[in-house]
Symmetry: C2
């Protein structure tokens, strides 16, 4: 008595839901528009709220939605392209639109992995904290590790910490004339302090960019920058940014 099998592919509910919502976003909603709340949406689709949330989480991960506690769920704008390749690193945090803003500076022992890249031991290094803004939005938080030996001429007159000190370290580093860099990108989750700077909850997905700066045959500095994965598209390469993200995702999802 073979049961007729019914070719039920058994697609998970949240997956199907995500597809439906994605199509609805394309056709029925404008960027910035507020969606119905989770309880209503769940009821409307006849699923538990947890299941609905699973679909929303995926869409947020893909940069389609933005959720804020106490406010609601809105349709996110397309991801912004953020250049990370430029050789002319904005060490001074100038007045350009895509600048890093120095926030603070401390002298601490580097994490062991960073120390290994720097070739230093456990002696303290300068740790410069910077925030990157784009269009008035914080998109990245960075910790820049600079061994004292890289910036020997750092004036003792400058403040021992704070923004002034940070700018001084960056200035000295800039004068070194860095020769090249080595970079890697991986997925991570935001530490509590980074999450706060980026206006996200702890654990939010981030793209961790680790950069090693060379000068005079050695590693002069190491940067660990965390970019908001929901809103950012990291761009590399010689020419300008490529300007497509949102549409592409729609296409990819559709197939």
């Amino acid at each position: 008595m073979g049961t007729t099998q019914l070719e039920s592919v058994q697609e998970p509910k949240y997956w199907h839901l995500k597809t439906v919502l994605s199509e609805a976003l394309d056709s029925d909603f404008a960027v910035g528009e507020i969606l119905p709340n989770e309880r209503d949406l769940a009821a409307r689709f006849g699923v538990a709220r947890a299941t609905l949330r699973q679909a929303l989480e995926q869409l947020e991960l893909e940069g389609r939605l933005q959720r804020r506690r106490g406010v609601g769920t809105t349709v996110a704008p397309p991801r912004v392209g953020v250049a990370v390749s430029t050789a002319q690193h904005e060490w001074t945090g100038g007045v350009t639109g895509e600048a890093w803003q120095p926030v603070d500076c401390a002298s601490e022992a580097a994490p062991s992995a960073v120390a290994a890249m720097l070739g230093t031991g456990t002696e303290p290094v300068h740790v410069v904290r910077r925030i990157r803004d784009t269009h008035g939005q914080a998109v990245a938080a960075e910790l820049l590790y600079v061994p004292a030996s890289s910036v020997p001429d750092l004036s003792a007159i400058d403040a021992p910490s704070g923004t002034v000190r940070a700018r001084a370290v960056l200035r000295e580093l800039h004068r070194l004339g860095l020769e090249g860099q080595d970079r890697s990108v991986e997925l991570g989750s935001a530490r509590a302090d980074d999450a706060k700077e980026l206006d996200r909850l702890p654990g939010a997905p981030v793209l961790v960019v680790t950069t090693r700066y060379f000068a005079a045959g050695g590693t002069a500095a190491v940067s660990i920058a965390t970019y908001r994965a929901d809103t950012c598209r990291l761009t590399f390469g010689d020419s300008g940014a490529l300007e497509i993200s949102h549409d592409e995702q729609q296409e990819r999802q559709a197939s």
Copy 2:
């Protein structure tokens, strides 16, 4: 009557759990070791299974754990560095260890976003499917879009589809002498077909690398490659890969 506030930071349980588990992984487990099952772990920590799973999901996202249905949860090895910067793209899918393996080739209309980058209309393009292996593990799946106009000398003798056709398109593309490339990286979730190739569930987090290849002043091809975000660290840059990931994460988490 000010309530004494008690400085209860109200750290979520799953966040604390994640920290505890992370430390346990560092001290008490070896790579590849199997953890107790989720029901036991949840009982041991006195939380619901769903809460325990939230912590495990984060750790998997960070590449610390690997979970397989019907098998169990194991301690993941450090992420592998995968180079994506090399100019000498392995068009032919050679016999080197880090090669792309051509799988298939079809002639289809490109998604609109891809068509926009190519500057083509709706006419069909060659779509080459490739898989990238590292250490015997599939780490990336790619769709390479090549307009027919880019490879005019493509022999009609070659098969109209399949691996043979794929290799023929790659060979012709290689002969063009590509001049440069433009690249972007963003977070995405695996489509069903990519997930299957990568041995992951649909929706698994992936790093989507979009590359635009130039030749003779135009865009000769566009590649959309999806890398497993859990196991891969994408490396760019002039020199070799930087060899740190796992330890670094431990350090970052600890602070």
